[in-house]
Symmetry: C2
Subunit: 351 residues, 2 copies
């Protein structure tokens, strides 16, 4: 209508580049006649970056999410990078199962990129994440792997971590090793199950089977929800089979600490009457009695790497700054190594 190119219109509204006053007025009049203003301006604003990195967290009423070692360490690592790279960090709480408005967060310019924590593998979640990817919105998952997708993911090698934890117990002479896992919707629960079964199968205790679940005697497998309370309660269930259990591998420290407390109450002394190994190497592992053998996961560095991958242009550069312990598995999957930390809760063979 103004007889000018789209680029000229853009230059007028963004006040970019040289423009004849006459052309300028022509564009503005046409825009006014077409009611074009507010959108054009909105778009020009839209192009401004928010300067915010979004972090989506699961919201569960009464759960003090920042007080869990897992989330707090990842957030600290993200925070470090956000600060270094001049961003702020927008925390968004989503109730698990909520209609997740991930795309809306980008559309409304609240965030430039997004890290998703505590996601679980459900059809709805996969659908939402695929939509985000198709719309080219940059996001990264931490500590959760969606097999068969090509999402940007920073994970840890939990299968190997669990394998080494159980191998350690075997090396100490324990053979009757039970496993307290977390909920199956998390890929890292499934990974730990695989590592546990692999070690037990290699040791000749389990028969090689296709489905890891089938390899395990029923009284040796419990499922908690990663809380201390669920570990505490499991101690009482395991205690019914103490004649056939001499060690328990817990999928995180909170549950491991709960096990220690439960067993103590029953008069079963951890580190003497039963071996316990946890997972995460949280602060708590150092101060329990006995101190808890655990598997260190570099959550802080995982959070930092995720932020770096999203906020830096060049992924190779982002990874190279981490120097060691990062494996580029395939596509957009980065995996970090874990490390066994032996303490007295698993010392001393009973064999």
């Amino acid at each position: 209508m103004a007889g000018v190119s789209e680029a000229t219109v853009s230059r007028v509204f963004n006040r970019v580049g040289p423009i004849k006053e006459e052309t300028r007025l022509k564009v503005l009049k046409a825009a006014e006649a077409l009611g074009y203003y507010p959108n054009a301006i909105a778009q020009s604003f839209a192009r401004r970056k928010s300067g915010n990195l979004g972090v989506v967290l699961p919201y569960v009423p009464k759960v003090h999410i920042f007080s869990t070692y897992y989330f707090s360490e990842i957030l600290s690592g993200i925070g470090e990078q956000v600060r270094e790279l001049g961003y702020d960090m927008l925390l968004i709480f989503r109730k698990p199962g909520d209609d997740n408005g991930y795309i809306e967060l980008f559309r409304s310019q609240k965030i430039d990129a997004c890290i998703l924590l505590g996601t679980t593998d459900t059809p709805e979640e996969r659908k939402a994440l695929r939509a985000l990817k198709e719309a080219n919105h940059p996001f990264c998952l931490v500590n959760q792997h969606f097999a068969g997708e090509d999402f940007l993911e920073v994970d840890a090698d939990h299968e190997q971590g669990a394998y080494e934890a159980v191998k350690h117990l075997l090396d100490e002479g324990y053979r009757r090793i039970a496993f307290l896992n977390g909920p199956p919707g998390y890929s890292n629960s499934a990974d730990r199950l695989k590592g546990y079964v692999r070690a037990m199968t290699e040791a000749g205790i389990f028969n090689p089977v296709d489905d890891p679940d089938e390899a395990i005697p029923a009284q040796w497998l419990e499922t908690g929800n990663y809380s201390r309370t669920s570990g505490y309660e499991s101690a009482f269930r395991f205690a019914r089979h103490l004649d056939s259990i001499d060690a328990v591998f817990a999928a995180n420290d909170r549950m491991g600490i709960g096990l220690i407390q439960g067993f103590r109450e029953l008069g079963v002394l951890p580190g003497r009457d039963i071996a316990i190994v946890g997972y995460d190497d949280s602060d708590g592992a150092r101060i329990t009695d006995p101190p808890l053998t655990s598997v260190a996961v570099p959550f802080y560095r995982m959070g930092a790497l995720a932020a770096k991958l999203l906020l830096k242009e060049n992924a190779d550069e982002a990874v190279s700054e981490f120097q060691e312990g990062v494996n580029h598995i395939s596509g957009h999957l980065y995996q970090m190594a874990t490390r066994l930390v032996v303490r007295s809760s698993s010392a001393g063979s009973q064999a």
Copy 2:
């Protein structure tokens, strides 16, 4: 220039209310001639709320801030309210001593209101906060009191909390009670000092003096930085005076746990050879050996109240939803009660 009122200009740019097409064009032409557009539009955007509650956190490299009980609990409480009231939470990291751009956060529409955590009482901080108040930007301080100002503050009664901790040790028969405080820039360090001196003075151990510092024998007072390591190191300094010390009150649990570890290494058994009392009642207090007597501070509720006071129109309503434990001290200062939790680290008199 267009011969219309300011309100009309505003209506044109905000597309609010009825407006004659002729007037509209007149305003737009005048605006164009004056180069007025972008600002006007920017202002109209400015009026849109961001939907974000800002939380300013101190940034210290290598410190995993979310992993400290204190910050993580306050953030969890803020998070609960933010979620309930339909906001998101923007975390902003500031290096202590940084030129704090608090006002800029409001001007750039990144946040609607702001909670400041971990501030210290310095002339620069007071100046920045006064400027924020004068500009009518809503903000709230948590766990830090600026005497003589009228800032919105949610604090805990740390003087009473410290008093009760020391009173408990006195009741258990301890008299030679040393104190490991945190840095003096925090009002809550000063409060705890007052509570300690009040209890010791009431018991006739200290002479009544004006300056609490002067009342305390030098070997009974140490200053740490609220880290576990600083508690650990203090144990070795206190240990040189073990003939004149039979109990230590630590200003937080991290330092208390460090003390336990340090004393154990020296062969001095906490709970038997020396009594230890911590402060915060963190998760760690429950799992040390011996479990640590501590003072519970409702950090979670303090964070929640701060968010509520900022995001709800009506302060009385916000407070009334907390039912108990909130005292409206004066002006905009709200104070919550603490609670002593007795465990075996302080049990058994040696008197």
